[in-house]
Amino acid sequence: MSASILPLALENVSYASAGQPIISNVSLRIDAGPSSIILGANGAGKSVLMRLMHGLLAPTSGTVSWREKDRERVRRLQAMVFQRPVMLRRSALANVVYALAVAGVSAAEREAQALAALDEVGLRHLAHRPARVLSGGEQQRLALARAWALHPEVLFLDEPTANLDPGAAREIETVIKAFDAAGTKIVMATHNLGQARRLGDEVIYLQAGCVMERAPIEQFFARPATAEAAAFMKGELPWV
Amino acid sequence: MGLIRSALLVLAFAGAAQAQDKFITVASTTSTEQSGLFKHLLPLFEKKTGIQVRVVAVGTGQALDIGRRGDADVVLVHAKPLEEKFMAEAQGVRRYDVMYNDFVLIGPKSDPAQVRGTKDVAAAFRKVAQAQAPFVSRGDRSGTHFAELEIWKLAGIDIAKQKGPWYRDTGQGMGPALNTAAGMNAYILSDRGTWLSFKNRGDLVIAVEGDRRLYNQYGVMLVNPQKHPNVKAKLGQAFVNWLISPEGQDAIASYRINGEQLFFPNAGN
């Protein structure tokens, strides 16, 4: 088996845009294993932090480094699912095939692997439907299928169910659990407390661009260490 | 640059696939083409020799310049001083008279300068200037334009100095200039051929015709292959020879508009 690309280490990472600080001096270490939930209110900087970790943004100061030094390998073994899924103007199957093509999978194998991924998320019956006419929930599942086909070591999810109704959200959570069961490291940003509880093993609580607290999930919910975290949880109603 | 040349060569073949094997390019004047003479003449020549004649019709000055650039094989124009200059520059092999037609002074029916019916075109021009009646000039270095300038000189008028708002220098071909004159009800010097086929006459009629000084001589020259190696000398010479041959001269004479002969062959002179 090849070596893991984890752990991921952020050291004194700051990010500012147009003079406004968004992430301030964050140091974190992401190890393999427990699903990490990045929790925080809107505007706390969760999305930017995710993008810094995934490599879509470069920090203004500080370093983001993986254990694996081969940057190509690091990129290939991660995947990210965004709040709003972005699908190409082609069939659902073709979208997954595209991701495999970009990843360098040989043409002969792409379709089979793509179909398997669609199977995994329960979208096989929509394989030849244009991706853009699928419902929001279906498109998000398709995004997960696309990520699944790539067999990433780390899956970043940026508020994946924020735009979905509870039923669709539940379907997404089922797939995320499947990723977790298959050994993929989950790093997910959400402000949904119930979802955090259902899917996470640890919480990284972010406020105004700073990591306020990091704790195992039950500990965080039972005894939040900071007053800000406690206030945050009082303000949010968890989905049951 | 090499890549561009290759791409253009591909296009050249694409264009050539359309092209005939035997053709020559003749630079001539708009008035000659618009008279319809070429539509009458060229099929006869092509039938006899299999050579397609491609006519680029522009003003005389421009036609001779096309010859100077080597972009045509033969030039057929009607401005003897300019043709002689062309020969003096060794741009042409030999100049031949081909035919002549005539110019007419066109004017409004109302005839503000009172020149209608006179046989002296220089006197007519003088009266137009004195009356300051609207006059449209082609102003485009064409044979017609040069003829007009010559007549001003004959009339004793320095038109460059003496022109006023009545003198409209349009810089256009014969047809558009006639359009302008019709629109302004102005006098204008035109070749008879263009006038005969011109349909948008408005209130204009022929005011002065028949003055010997209105005769317009055409000359043909083969562009000098020594200066321009790409010139199709053999095919071009064949065209020149045909034009001045009895057969070509007859063909020229037989061209008519509404029964009227337009061009009078005079290659023998």
Binding site: R51, V86, P130, R132 | L11, N230
Partner: protein
């Protein structure tokens, strides 16, 4: 109104000659648009996606070139292709090939500039996802072109409209030679200058009808494809 009817009647009399003029117009303009599209779409895509020094100046230049006067392009190409010019021995002057070259030059900036604008908008939507998947810039650019193909059709049609409508460039480099380089626009110019306005009008309407037909066909294809691909 009578002039229009008269014009159309005269046009129908032209028969074979008209066919040749129409066919040549289509050949020249469609070829030019094909070349300009093949070069312009990638150019627009690269400009939309890649960031490099001088990018903004290049975009401004490209947008300005959309307004290139056709006569100026004609003149420049004429000087290039004339026997007295650098590319004279290609013998392209006064042939349809020269007209295609001139119109390609004229249309390329239009297609590239409009494509760039549309693709830049699309890039904003796709960038994060494509980069997350690991697509390299060039790969992403071509993916964008294919995905944005419906809006790019509009850019191509704009280019076609410009090519079909212009007379300055093709007149100078083609020479309006009867039966060889005479296209609809130069024929209209000729008939107008001869004072034969009804015929010129008739030809004008044929030209408009042609361009309308092409646009209608493109719209139908676009709609059918959109139903299929969403």
């Amino acid at each position: 109104m009578g002039a229009i009817a008269e014009g159309l009647r005269r046009v129908l009399e032209l028969d074979r000659e008209l066919w040749h003029i129409v066919a040549l117009s289509l050949e020249v303009s469609l070829s030019a648009v094909l070349i300009a599209t093949a070069l312009g779409l990638p150019l627009g895509a690269v400009l939309a996606v890649k960031r490099f020094a001088g990018r903004r100046s290049l975009i401004v230049l490209l947008n300005s070139l959309m307004g290139l006067p056709p006569v100026v392009v004609g003149l420049l190409i004429y000087l290039l292709l004339s026997r007295a010019g650098p590319l004279g021995d290609l013998g392209l002057l006064f042939t349809p090939g020269a007209m295609i070259i001139a119109q390609s030059v004229l249309v390329l900036p239009i297609i590239a500039a409009l494509a760039r604008q549309g693709l830049e908008d699309a890039w904003r939507e796709y960038e994060e996802q494509l980069r997350s998947l690991g697509a390299r810039e060039l790969e992403a650019a071509f993916t964008l072109i294919w995905d944005a193909r419906f809006s790019l059709v509009t850019a191509v049609l704009a280019g076609l409209g410009r090519a079909a409508a212009e007379v300055g460039a093709v007149m100078i480099v083609g020479g309006n030679i009867d039966g060889v380089t005479r296209v609809m626009t130069t024929a209209i110019a000729l008939e107008t200058s001869k004072g034969d306005l009804p015929l010129a009008l008739g030809l004008g309407f044929v030209l408009i009808a042609l361009v309308l037909a092409v646009n209608a066909a493109a719209q139908l294809v676009k709609e059918a494809a959109q139903r299929r691909y969403g």
